[in-house]
Symmetry: C2
Subunit: 118 residues, 2 copies
């Protein structure tokens, strides 16, 4: 069963805000967008997203992500949790393992607000 | 005179890294990219970028940015400095005023690494 994404990013394909560069965003919109961008603004999390996206089928077992990053298992768990809570990755439990995958639409949401006319 | 951007982002139009979602990025690339994204990951800085981009001519005097944000002048100065150091905004001094403008190519650089096949 694919675990549901947190409510506020359930519709990850929908931009939270109008493009940043064509309209003035409100303080509330800025808070939502900043939280989402902040989840990505970490070298380990960027590498996790990159590793997941480049894995066969666009997903990887948490157990296979620790070694390539050179970080401890609890640290990798923490970063995956932050990405998951921001709606940037999805997770699925299969027997004893948890598999993670990127949510491309969530990344596109961030990209869209930075690009005028998209 | 337009002040030069910091060296590491002088060529803001060039992506620092291959698209995140099609290739695995290195630890070094992740550091550079995370620093750039982190500069944006703040509600006040997102609003500043949005205000600048929506201003006539895509630029605004620092003196006109304080009131719409509802923050103190030193706080606005700090955020503009962070954006400038990340190469996300440019600045130009005219008589006693400093004018800031968005560097669209720098925003596009971030958007590009989040979007496969661009």
């Amino acid at each position: 069963m694919v675990t549901k994404l947190p409510l506020d990013v359930a519709a990850a394909g929908e931009a939270c805000c109008a493009p940043l560069v064509t309209e003035t965003i409100t303080a509330e919109q800025a808070e939502v967008l900043a939280a989402r961008i902040k989840a990505l603004a970490d070298p380990a999390r960027l590498r996790l997203v990159s590793l997941l996206a480049a894995s066969p089928g666009g997903e990887a077992c948490q157990c296979d992500l620790t070694e390539p990053l050179g970080l401890s298992q609890p640290t990798v768990s923490h970063h995956l949790k932050v990405l998951y809570q921001a709606g940037l990755v999805a997770k699925e439990k299969r027997s004893t393992w948890v598999y993670y995958s990127v949510v491309p639409e969530a990344l596109a949401t961030i990209a869209d607000v930075l690009t005028p006319g998209r």
